[in-house]
Subunit: 413 residues, 2 copies
């Protein structure tokens, strides 16, 4: 008899709980191998503090409801374990906790840094001769993990961004003759333009909105941008811009950090959209509006992608199945089998291969002028936003579950 421990790591998504759902439901099918699934409260920080949630108190209905509840049901955190040499005590602490709670399966659900962490934990356990099966489960809206066809969480953000762009563009188009001429929509993506790229699914030609997409991969050029906006307004009557938060100027400086100061002279951080809006106003004198989706985009479970949801669930399920097969220090990934119809299956790769790699947008996914996506990119992203998977509603609001999150009795170590 042994227990499992699951923890969520880094920024949460609309479907990370679907992975938790797949994992816990599958573990519950194997009660002789896995007695209990514990969860770290607020991720690995909770584990280090011996703050563990005992998920066995949750009803099957509550666990099933995780499939349609956004956010991180057990809490997540931003915390990166240092190397073993640098902070050995933290790794020892982890293994002591694991031993105290009979934890023999460790599932860590996160992005690139988290895969690195779980890999190190696996190595340390081996060093210490502590029998532990470690599985990293991918999750990141940034879509920057290597090997996997895509990252769970990305498809849903992509769908949200594409739909929001489509809807706002219809609004702007209706009013442009006498009102707003330029609409700027800021989306996430500090290092890679995947999320902004999803807006490109909306327009079929460069004359359709979104007219201009700004990628972190392409250095921003103010004059050229303003010229393109002006040309677009002249031709189409209005211009819709989708901007990655992480665009940088020619010197590599984030636009979001440039220039603005408040009444006290402090520089203002954040907000590429208002920066671009100021340029449009000052250089072109055009009426603008801007939106910043921020957390709305990564929590928008109400319009999650069905494909993303199914993949997220499947990865949680596969993680348990691989663990029970004795696979250690691996990460389940999504493999694309065919494009049309989109077919996929789950495979694994060793965690040693994953660590410290970032999957940026390939050059041939960005249009030559730097302001849009190519057909190859469109074909890659399109299937990931396919299908809807609406949560249940009551009185007009989604019925998201709030777990009991009862803590395991503390003080075992």
């Amino acid at each position: 008899m042994a227990n499992a421990l699951y923890a969520q790591s880094g920024g949460v998504t609309a479907v990370i709980n679907a992975t938790a759902c797949g994992l816990i439901e599958t573990a519950r099918l194997h009660p002789t191998e896995i007695q209990k699934v514990f969860a770290g409260h607020n991720g690995i920080l909770g584990i280090l503090e011996e703050d563990l949630i005992d998920t066995s108190f949750e009803t099957p209905e509550a666990i099933a409801a995780l499939k349609y509840t956004p956010g991180g049901a057990f809490g997540s955190c931003r915390y990166k374990l240092k190397g073993i040499a640098e902070n050995r005590t933290e790794y020892e602490r982890l293994l002591n906790i694991f031993a105290a709670y009979d934890i023999r399966y460790f599932f860590y659900n996160g992005g690139g840094d988290s895969q690195d962490t779980v890999h190190k934990v696996a190595e340390f356990a081996k060093l210490q001769n502590y029998s532990l099966t470690c599985i990293g489960i991918p999750k990141t809206i940034d879509n920057d993990l290597p090997f996997t066809d895509n990252c769970p969480g990305f498809g849903s953000v992509a769908k949200y961004v594409a739909i929001s762009t489509l809807e706002a563009s219809l609004d702007v188009a209706s009013m442009a003759s006498s009102s707003t001429k330029v609409f700027i929509f800021e989306v996430m993506g500090r290092h890679a333009g995947w999320i902004a790229a999803a807006a490109g699914l909306v327009g079929k030609t460069p004359n359709d909105p979104p007219h201009l997409i700004l990628f972190p991969e392409i250095p921003f050029h103010e004059d050229n941008f303003c010229q393109r906006v002006q040309e677009t307004v002249a031709k189409a009557g209005y211009c819709v811009v989708v901007a990655s938060e992480g665009i940088r100027d020619q010197s590599g400086k984030f636009l979001a950090e440039s220039g603005l100061t408040d009444a006290f002279g402090h520089s203002q951080l954040g907000g590429v959209a208002p920066q671009l809006a100021q340029m449009v106003k000052q250089k072109l004198g055009l009426k603008y509006h801007w939106a910043v989706a921020d957390y709305l985009q990564r929590s928008a479970r109400h319009i999650a992608s069905r494909v993303d949801l199914e993949q997220s669930y499947a990865l949680g399920k596969a993680a348990v199945e691989y663990a029970l097969q004795g696979q250690n220090a691996i990460m389940p990934i999504i493999v694309r089998d065919s494009q049309e119809p989109y077919q996929w299956h789950i495979d694994v790769i060793p965690l040693s291969k994953v660590a410290n790699q970032e999957n940026k947008m390939p050059k041939h996914f960005i249009r030559e002028d730097g302001y849009g996506i190519t057909n190859v990119c469109r074909e890659y992203i399109a299937p990931l936003i396919a299908g809807e998977a609406y949560p249940p509603y009551q009185n007009g609001l989604p019925q998201y579950v709030k777990l009991l999150n009862r803590r395991a009795t503390k003080g075992r170590i």
Copy 2:
């Protein structure tokens, strides 16, 4: 035989096209009374320019699809006709166009200013002995028209804002222990706090998110706000703020216009959320994130309220029916018959009563501390967001219709 003319006015909504759908479908049931429905291209500006759309070219399927397509399908505009005494030529021009196209029914779909305009047109037609039936059809996300139980367009924005607040709050709550402590969500509402109030449907107690709602009706007090944020973070671990774009300081100045200047010393317009975020950072030193929904909220047809959709359609239908009954210079309104279950019917009021009135939030709808809504407010708004009415999807995107918008042959006058 006569024709009808329909025009959309002011900011568009997720459901204004549902009103157009109800109107055109009902007119098509009465071909002996109404031969054609023309539509002003970009609203009344198109009418003045003799730029009319002949909707008879649209298939029944295309007209039906208006029910689930956001934006203004014929184009809208921001343009307020002056008084008859001030600009008589514009009114004469309108009547000349009406006469040239045999228009005997004029339907104007907009907010308070538009109701004033259609009222003046009705009066001028009477003065000129031109037989014309004028109907104003309410529409505004601001929910500030008098007499009607609520305004078409509001319920859908309210639903979007409530759901977005719920979802983002789950995200923030998951991460607060090690990341963002304060999340600020800016929504529309320049003079009235109805839209921000809708976020209050999410939390059941002042301890639930959204913890603080900022209304234009309540003068903003920086110190008190910062204190409340700090207390909330201390108690709940995080703080979710929903701010109306139109909040003003004690001197009556819009917060969105205060203080920020760019590198050239120009003051920056727009964005209450980043302003509030700066306060949180400077006074409290707390990690923040902010979102500005802007057009996303009023075009979010993907999550429109079913009640709002049904009312919007019903008003378009009723407008034609009242017109054919010979009612002139009236506006159909929504009357609330019962609260639970929410039941309503359509009635009319004379346009003379509507003009130049604004329906702000009543005092007893705002909690005594000024940062939330009361139960009375909750009971008023709750039924307006009830029910979902999803558009059809293809390849992951809503299938919004693009009308032919074939123009009537110009040059009749």
